[in-house]
């Protein structure tokens, strides 16, 4: 029998139709003293309106510098079950697919070594096992590895890469997001487990510009599938949409940011030369329109949450890269940018912040990339810029004036 706490405030959060996290903690608390004390401490947080977790601690498994987040309670005397309450991050499989057998393995594992509480999944994509004690970490990691699983990333490391559902179950995926994610994860195991960077580095791959994994907002390296061919049109299916009540003029033509679609009530025309590849018409006319090859990806760099210089969205660095296994061009570029970041980055400086500090030119040169208009929203509007020695030898106007 585990300890029982009165939880009048948390009980209020079992009311209402949406599934309740409090009910989940209570279920775990019936079997686990750790989960019971988690519930007790949480009720106190709700009463006092403050968190009772201490700042991290040094825990981990031999050889790795990540995958485990140390967590200790400030109220260990009162709630001894959460004196240690460490998080374990387990590297998820690409696309977040499971079999019931695998899920039951995780349940058995976590009932044995932890609180029985989990997150499917953490913000970065890992399977999160919430709440265990230091002495369980090595056995837990051992059993995971015996069954083909490994820990995810934490700290100043490459974080566990993640992706959208991709070609597994989406007709719009123009790159193999699951394979790219799996391949990069395997390629960079050292960088994932041994934090050797100035700060974290996230890679998120999505199959098309709809970006169902928020890659452009959350990943230092955003890989977003796109296409170069014309949009193929099945006119009969477009007419079906119109017959079923869609106002093609309002909903498709007028909302196209490239203003490149016309509709005469019978035929839909797309001027592909002006298409911005935004996906609006394709997603709204599912089955009637589809992108055609060549397929590839836009590569962008630098997204992050606000600290320290403010939130950033990723910036285009390669407008179009073909992505075919073994993805060598991409891997070489990633290694080059990491070397540069390791050389010049300060502690806790994300790669986007370093690019701002040292300039996009230096970054592009390190990556072997050329300046092109696709990299900017507009050219600079200030009247001063750098010239380097080698620039004086280049005379780009000569070619242009020929």
């Amino acid at each position: 029998m585990t300890k029982k706490y009165d939880t009048p405030l948390l009980d209020e959060l079992e009311k209402g139709p949406f599934p309740s996290f409090v009910t989940e903690i209570k279920k775990a608390a019936a079997k686990s003293a750790m989960a019971a004390d988690e519930l007790g401490q949480l009720e106190k947080s709700f009463r006092d309106k403050v968190t009772y977790w201490k700042h991290g601690g040094i825990v981990g498994v031999r050889g790795y510098g990540g995958g485990v987040i140390g967590r200790y309670s400030q109220l260990a005397d009162k709630f001894p079950g959460v004196a240690h309450f460490h998080t374990v991050r387990v590297n998820q499989t690409s696309g977040l697919f499971y079999t019931s057998e695998t899920m039951k393995f995780f349940c058995d594992l976590w009932d044995k070594y932890g609180s029985g509480l989990t997150n499917f999944h953490g913000s970065t994509g890992d399977i999160i096992l919430l709440g265990t004690v230091t002495e369980n970490l090595e056995p837990l990691a051992t059993v995971l590895s015996m069954n083909g699983f490994d820990l995810g990333g934490s700290g100043s490391a490459m974080r566990t890469p993640s992706c959208c559902v991709g070609p597994a179950r989406c007709e719009w995926s123009m790159i193999d997001t699951l394979d790219i994610t799996y391949d990069l994860t395997q390629e960079f195991q050292d960088e994932l487990h041994r934090p050797q960077f100035p700060y974290k580095f996230k890679i998120k791959t999505v199959g098309c510009p709809v970006d169902c994994n928020a890659s452009i907002a959350r990943a230092d390296l955003s890989i977003i599938g796109t296409w170069k061919g014309p949009i193929a049109i099945d006119q009969d299916k477009v007419k079906d949409y119109a017959k079923k009540g869609m106002n093609i003029q309002e909903e498709i033509v007028n909302m196209c940011p490239g203003k490149c679609i016309t509709w005469d009530g019978n035929t839909l025309n797309i001027n592909n030369a002006d298409c911005l590849h935004c996906m609006h018409c394709i997603t709204k006319l599912a089955g009637a329109l589809k992108p055609t090859p060549p397929f590839g990806a836009v590569i962008l760099i630098g997204a992050k949450a606000p600290f320290v210089i403010g939130a950033t969205l990723s910036w285009v660095i390669v407008p179009f890269m073909e992505l075919k296994p073994p993805y060598q061009e991409l891997k070489d570029m990633i290694r080059n940018m990491w070397d540069w970041w390791n050389e010049y980055g300060k502690n806790r400086e994300r790669i986007g912040e370093l690019i701002i500090r040292r300039g996009m030119r230096e970054f592009l040169e390190v990556c072997g990339l050329e300046p092109t208009p696709e990299l900017v929203r507009e050219p600079r509007n200030d009247p001063f810029w750098f010239w380097k020695e080698e620039d004086f030898e280049k005379k780009p106007w000569e070619e242009f004036l020929k």
Binding site: E24, V50, T93, Q189
Partner: protein, 366 residues
């Protein structure tokens, strides 16, 4: 693959750097067969869609909500349901929903019936409210200014009809970050909540030198408010510069900033990540502060309802919250929602001038 958990574990057997197992091991056969060869999909009801391959094969997806924080009991139940109807195959979405993957059409209705009987909430597909991405909050984080799971629960309770049945002009993506560190990256969501502080960190001078590194602490401050205090072997904080972001506490535990009286929730709106129609957009400040009224944050729910209802009433079909606001203008947004506009809404951080209005184009709202 048969899984094993030995009674006695020899930790020397641990293999390192093996990475995750290959995803193919977890894909239903119909997905393996039609991988990368899907033709189209149809949303059949708010929680059911079918994907059709070029081969003619089909797979049905039934989506249900999850609080993300799940006990092993619930996970086993989900696995059992998947075994009964889906040959054991299921997945999660990036917004923490559960998706049952059904290969046999005759099992779709019985699955949905059983899920409904067991009180699972079916829905979330298409132009409506999906699940809320969020951070750990008071459940597991040392820097949370607000709980995260509770906000998710009370907001989803309020808008549950928009998950299970009703439509919105376009998807409405909610997000919760329990402090400005934003592990949940809420800076590009339609409607998002951020836990904030409003008072200076308290300096524990005695412990500073034992617990904290001076250069790292100074560098952590986005407003250069922190300077050394050599006499005390500690630091000083310039009260005129500090914006209470709490980043210094992230690197230095001797600078606690949590404050039950003054911490609370800000609401930001109008962000998106997709490239459809308009490029991705950041969320902008709608409500600078609402109090932490546990356990159900009624003020936050009420303010959200005002924003949500105004959007549903005013947006054109396919417009996201941010697109709607951009079209009507921010002055009109504050007018139609009735939210107060305060000094906090006018930027005074690094690139503040980028958000000041530099045109005479103004809509009169009064």
């Amino acid at each position: 693959m048969p899984y094993v958990i030995p009674d006695v574990v020899d930790v020397k057997q641990r293999k390192t750097d093996i990475g995750p197992p290959h995803y193919k091991n977890f894909l239903p056969p119909v997905i393996q067969k039609n991988y990368g060869d899907w033709k189209t999909h149809e949303i059949l009801s708010p929680g059911l869609m079918v994907h059709i391959a070029n081969s003619g094969d089909k797979i049905w997806t039934v989506r249900v909500a999850s609080p993300r924080l799940l006990s092993t009991d619930t996970l086993r139940e989900i696995a059992d349901i998947a075994e009964k109807y889906c040959d054991g195959y299921f997945r999660f979405t990036t917004r923490n929903n559960i998706e049952f993957l059904v290969s046999d059409e005759s099992k779709v209705k019985p699955l949905m019936d059983e899920l409904a009987d067991r009180k699972y909430m079916i829905g979330g597909i298409g132009s409506r409210v999906s699940n809320i991405v969020h951070t750990q909050g008071w459940i597991h984080c040392h820097s949370a200014a607000v709980d995260a799971s509770a906000l998710v629960k009370v907001i989803m309770d309020e808008f549950v009809d928009y998950f299970t049945t009703k439509e919105t002009p376009n998807k409405v993506r909610f997000a919760v970050a329990c402090c400005t560190n934003m592990c949940g990256a809420v800076h590009c969501s339609d409607i998002a909540y951020v836990g904030i502080h409003r008072k200076l960190p308290r300096i524990d001078h005695d412990n500073f030198k034992n617990l904290c590194e001076l250069p790292t602490t100074i560098a952590s401050c986005p407003t250069a408010a922190i300077t050394p205090d050599p006499a005390k072997k500690s630091i000083k904080i310039n009260a005129d510069k500090c914006m209470y972001c709490g980043n210094c506490f992230s690197v230095c535990p001797a600078l606690p900033i949590a404050d039950p009286e003054n911490d609370g929730v800000a609401i930001v709106v109008g962000g998106k990540v997709g490239n459809l129609r308009k490029p991705p957009m950041f969320s902008k400040l709608a409500v600078a502060y609402l109090p932490n009224n546990t356990p159900r944050w009624p003020e936050v729910v009420k303010a959200t309802k005002k924003i949500f209802d105004a959007y549903v009433a005013g947006a054109k079909k396919h417009e996201r919250v941010g697109e709607w606001i951009e079209r009507i203008g921010w002055e009109k947004f504050f007018a139609v929602t009735g939210l107060p506009f305060t000094f906090q809404h006018i930027d005074d951080w690094t690139y503040a001038f980028k958000t000041f209005r530099t045109t005479t184009q103004i809509k009169w709202t009064k």
